[in-house]
């Protein structure tokens, strides 16, 4: 890897930026392939990389399961994001209410998501409703807590400035409080989605017949390790794509645009 670093800056750096991260993946796949060749383990214990990469194309329910999981995640997350932000802003506007809800939020955060699965199964029965509730539950308290905190941290002086200039309460909320709290809202949303996605998988593992979690758990009964590993890797790819390519850039842009509310513009 040190040899690559000798390349000339402009083109070399771009190549390096893309090539370098590929190296560990390549090594890992090579080692995996080699291990399969050398030790020849049963397919049910460790299939070859090729088998795992083919699995999605050979398995009909793959796409339906991916679709079901992603759909549940999006649904639950949208509800969590909207309720979390709205309720969080409302609660954050009042200091006593925010202080009152603070400890409760911590407590709920501590057991959000996965710990609710048994109760959710009792309430909704197995299936989509239960999984969506769990996603909502996993994400809501993070979004709510962060939003409330972000609102509380918007300096009063900015609100008073607008009020002095004749703005209405609504104007202040729209133009000062929500933008001011935006960096916190975004980081709440981002970690909410991360916890939400893990919660989808866990909920499906024990309480659904469709979805990636249900699928890999069912494949375990048939020792279809190729499908299990394909499913697990898919879970990783989806989680990473959402976080790195959707929410991280959004968060960065939000912080760049509104993050410095306190000090310079």
């Amino acid at each position: 890897m040190t040899t690559i670093s000798a390349a000339s800056p402009p083109i070399g750096r771009t190549v390096k930026k893309w090539l370098l991260p590929a190296v560990p993946f390549a090594i890992l796949v090579a080692l995996w392939g080699l291990a399969v060749l050398l030790f020849d383990p049963p397919v049910g214990v460790l299939p070859s990389p090729a088998l795992v990469f083919e699995a999605p194309f050979n398995s009909d329910p793959y796409l339906a399961n991916v679709g079901a999981s992603v759909q549940r995640l999006i649904l639950g997350f949208l509800v969590a994001a909207s309720t979390g932000v709205v309720v969080g802003v409302a609660a954050g506007l009042s200091k006593p209410i925010a202080e009152f809800l603070g400890p409760l939020t911590t407590f709920m955060n501590a057991l959000s998501g996965i710990a609710w699965i048994p109760l959710a199964v009792a309430w909704f029965g197995p299936g989509t409703g239960m999984v969506v509730f769990i996603v909502w539950n996993a994400a809501f308290f993070l979004v709510f807590g962060n939003t409330m905190l972000g609102v509380r941290l918007v300096p009063d002086v900015l609100q008073n400035g607008l009020l002095t200039l004749g703005a209405s309460r609504m104007d202040v909320i729209r133009q000062v409080i929500v933008p001011g709290a935006m960096p916190y809202i975004m980081s709440g949303l981002r970690s909410g989605l991360g916890f939400g996605w893990r919660a989808v998988i866990a909920a499906e593992l024990v309480g659904a017949s469709l979805g990636l979690g249900a699928w890999i758990f069912e494949q375990q009964e048939f020792s279809r390790m190729d499908n299990i590993m394909a499913g697990a890797l898919t879970i990783g790819v989806i989680g990473m794509v959402m976080d790195r390519w959707l929410l991280a850039p959004l968060e960065r842009r939000t912080i760049e645009r509104w993050g410095m509310v306190g000090s310079a513009s």
Binding site: M1, K16, K17, L20, P21, P24, L28, V45, A98, E99, F100, G102, P103, T105, T106, F107, A110, L111, G113, I114, A115, W116, P118, L119, A122, W123, N146, M148, L149, R152, S187, G188, R190, S191, G194, F195, R198, I201, A202, L205, V206, L212, G213, I216, F217, Q220, S223, I228, G231, A232, L233, I235, G236, V237, G239, D243, A248, E251, R252, I255
Partner: protein
């Protein structure tokens, strides 16, 4: 170049953010006296009253919701039976062992990877990827490899905690200002000395961020693991609530959930926060 703040702090900060939200109000174990204890407990009292009112008004069937009194009864019963204390001990032991293994493997791994910028840059995406393939997603594979055993639960916890810990240890080393290293070198320090006196202490705050994130994920992975594997692997709190649901005893389910929440708060206030504060007081300046 590994970006210092934007990536990790993003994940670390949000948890910190929620934490800071509570520090506005007096903590559960704040030393500020009786009035602050009452103020901290009041929200919970009100929440329990609200729950009681909802239960009384809706009069739901017993398999949907039970009264706080009935949950308390289930809690006492479960303690008397001995199941709950055993399961609490078992879950905490699993988390403790998992944490120790994850620190033992993850921190040195992160430090090593962080020593060289190119290596760190190469390692970042793959660590992010395996962090995104959550331990829960590996559960079926682990079952095949290790069976419905203790090993499976432990492996899932360690896996889940390893990547946040290692990743943040690595970032911690990468974000130490180079002039500290250079200053030590100028004064004649060798590489080992620099690792010991600059990289290790300088990365502590970041390691702690990783650990907190890891325990948050690991705690949930533990519960999920115990749902699925607990029957044959000797129970645990996750198994306790899962099994109670199967029996249709919602009082036990809710008692178990409350125990989970309380345990987390206790761990947070009595272990994590004191360590974090010590680290920040002693070494925090480095990251500023």
């Amino acid at each position: 170049m590994v970006k210092p703040a934007s990536t990790t702090t993003a994940t670390g900060k949000d948890l910190g953010a929620v934490r800071a939200a509570q520090s506005e109000s007096p903590g559960l174990f704040g030393v500020a006296g009786l009035s602050s204890v009452i103020r901290a407990l009041l929200p919970f009292v009100v929440a329990i009253l609200a729950w009681w009112a909802i239960w009384a008004v809706l009069d739901p069937p017993e398999i949907i919701l039970v009264s706080p009194a009935s949950v308390f009864g289930s809690f006492i019963d479960s303690i008397a039976e001995g199941a709950l204390p055993t399961f609490i001990a078992r879950s905490l032991a699993r988390l403790g062992i998992g944490t120790l293994i994850a620190i033992g493997l993850g921190v040195p791994m992160g430090w090593l990877l962080g020593l060289d910028e190119d290596v760190a840059q190469a390692a970042e995406p793959i660590m992010r990827f395996f962090n995104a393939v959550s331990g829960i997603a590996w559960l079926p594979a682990m079952i095949i490899w290790f069976g419905f055993t203790e090993t499976t639960i432990q492996a899932v916890i360690v896996y889940t905690m390893l990547f946040p810990v290692a990743f943040n240890a690595m970032i911690g080393v990468r974000t130490i200002p180079k002039r500290y290293r250079d200053a030590c070198r100028t004064m004649g320090a060798g590489t080992l000395r620099i690792i010991r006196d600059v990289y290790m202490p300088g990365s502590f705050p970041s390691v702690m961020t990783g650990l907190r994130l890891g325990i948050g994920f690991g705690w949930r992975a533990l519960i999920a693991g115990e749902f699925v594997v607990g029957t044959t692997a000797g129970g645990g709190l996750g198994f306790f609530i899962f099994d109670a649901r199967t029996q249709g005893v919602i009082g036990k389910v809710m008692a178990g959930m409350i125990v989970l929440g309380v345990l987390w708060l206790l761990m947070d206030r009595l272990i994590l926060r004191p360590i974090e504060e010590t680290i920040n007081v002693k070494w925090g300046a480095v990251s500023a």
